[in-house]
Amino acid sequence: MARIDLADLAHSYQGPAADPASWALKPISMTWRQGGAYALLGPSGCGKTTLLNLISGLVKPSRGRILFDGDDVTPLSTQRRNIAQVFQFPVIYDTMTVAENLAFPLKNRGMPRQKIAERVAEIAQLLDLTPYLARKATRLSADAKQKISLGRGLVRPDVAAILFDEPLTVIDPHLKWELRSKLKALHRALDLTMIYVTHDQTEALTFADTVVVMQDGMVVQSGTPQQLFEKPEHTFVGYFIGSPGMNILPAAVQGRRAHISGHPISLTRNYDRLPAGAKIEIGVRPEFIRATSPMPTLLSARLERVDDLGRIRFAQVRVGEQKLAAHIPAGTNLSGTDVGLAFDPAHVHVYADSRLIEGTA
């Protein structure tokens, strides 16, 4: 059981002397709540695996400290950190049976035989592995193997947090859903801190109560799935999360109005004090732009394509050179290539140099 604090943590694989811009993980400070389900989300190479390995102790940080419940564990080895980690590819010990695999971490820690057997039976039950206990682990399918990897973490009674490094990569699509639900159920049942690294937003948003979005070695936003969706703090979060992603449009913003290609769009807040010389953009999710038949009051656009996702339809349109997506309200039929776009002012956000600007009331 532990709260994990990262204090000014940073890492460079080239050593601390390297150019700060090249660091795999730029300095971050944050707190992971005991019992929370977190997802680290970001594209490949954004530093999320580095962060995970720093927490588990497989990599020693170039800078900063890691605290478990206030105790500095930075110099401690992985064995002494009470951390379990599940890797991208299932790691199982070939020569052992499923039961022996699960018992391995306990045996290494010198637990009495009787106690080991009890623990293994308990965890096998939890993971639905009981029928396979006597089998050789090599002969099982990838999802069962991944469960064994997870089981070797859960079996230790002292584990504070479980770290997942893209654990569903090699799992068949139809089993991914099942295994993810299993993880969620385990999280609810066991009160463990879980940190889940992925580049798949569906996985992140369905698994975690807090999603930490990373880009280029930095945490760009951390919040609930709803916060990430409704109020992205960075344009990267806007288009990385959501499908299709957020529309980011260069705009001229003055007070309570934004102008796109000369067309005014009203805003709910006042943006009088924008940083001078910054690149100003507005971000609107396609869900908050309605595509209808052209009207003089609406921003006019040229329709290029309609994507029908079944539950919802999106119009891919063009305003001048700028491409954007807008949803088509049920019952609306677009005819011809000219459409009008209606913006929902409450969900139009203003960004200066890609960062969200909070307007004044």
Partner: protein, 300 residues
């Protein structure tokens, strides 16, 4: 479905058949032919049936006694070098660096003995072990040890085994190193997290992952050591006495020294059969190990 019959297809096999006939079948049949005859020179041959084979397999005859004695020497030699080279090779592979320029340096140093022609290896050790001018022999005698591979059978054996270990441990080490390199980092990280000791990492991860390369190493080293000829022949010539006379040396003595073509032919056939049987056993074992890994129904 109607099968198309085209006998012309046999013509396509003909070139290979001719090649194999001249490279394997004809020579083998010649040997079989010799093995059932006796000769007193002058190209005169007499039918002897399975007489040579009977003698060969009967340890009470002079011929059979020699055969069994050298077969025993062969088996003992193979067992000894395997018992030394396999663990030593694993140890070398485990202690090799994982990255950087040292890897290249180690690989080159390890590969050197493998590149030396066998008779040169023999000559090197023949001189190296001499007590008058050889570094090893001279040093050992200077230390007060009475080492002389020419007159002492034990010294001769030690020299030959040391030579084989020097020559071939690299092969085992290189194979094991390749096997070790193929283990993903995640295994070591997981073992680290599971609190595994160095020994547990070796038995639970490294050894099982090296199983296949070790099998290949074992096979190659067994076959090679079982057929050894050049090196001991150059160093000891089979002596002192007959103490280092292996099957291959015996064979050459019979065929070229005594011109006992019939005996030599019978012996080569049996020698060949032993090698074939061992090959077959290894092949069976290896394919079974492969089958064990094929995915079976499972999943949870």
């Amino acid at each position: 479905m109607e099968k198309i019959v085209n006998q012309k297809a046999w013509l396509l096999v003909l070139p290979v058949f001719a090649l194999v006939a001249f490279s394997a079948i004809v020579p083998l049949m010649t040997v079989v032919n010799y093995s059932v005859q006796d000769t007193f020179g002058n190209n005169q041959f007499f039918w002897n049936g399975v007489g040579w084979y009977k003698d060969l397999l009967d340890p009470s005859t002079e011929f059979g006694g020699r055969f069994y004695a050298s077969l025993l020497r062969n088996l003992f030699f193979s067992a000894t070098v395997l018992a030394i080279e396999i663990p030593l090779g694993i140890l070398v592979a485990l202690s090799m660096p994982r990255d950087g320029w040292r890897v290249a340096a180690c690989l080159i140093i390890l590969a050197l003995p493998l590149l030396i022609p066998w008779n040169v290896v023999g000559t090197i050790w023949q001189i190296f072990g001499r007590s008058d001018i050889g570094l090893l022999g001279y040093a050992l005698n200077a230390l007060g040890l009475n080492y002389n591979y020419v007159s002492n059978p034990l010294d001769a054996w030690l020299t030959i085994i040391a030579m084989d270990v020097w020559h071939w441990t690299s092969l085992v080490a290189l194979l094991c190193y390749a096997g070790l390199k193929s283990i993903p980092d995640a295994y070591y990280q997981a073992a680290h997290i599971d609190g595994a000791s160095r020994w547990a990492v070796f038995t639970a991860i490294q050894l099982p992952k090296m199983k296949r390369v070790l099998l290949i190493a074992f096979l190659l080293r067994f076959m090679d050591s079982f057929m050894i000829y050049t090196e001991p022949f150059v160093v000891t010539g089979g002596g002192p006495g007959n103490s280092t006379t292996f099957l291959s040396i015996e064979l050459v003595k019979l065929a070229l020294g005594q011109f006992d073509l019939g005996k030599a032919a019978a012996m080569s056939i049996v020698y060949n059969l032993i090698v074939l049987i061992v090959c077959w056993v290894f092949y069976t074992v290896m394919t079974n190990v492969g089958a064990e890994r094929s995915p079976e129904a499972g999943g949870a």
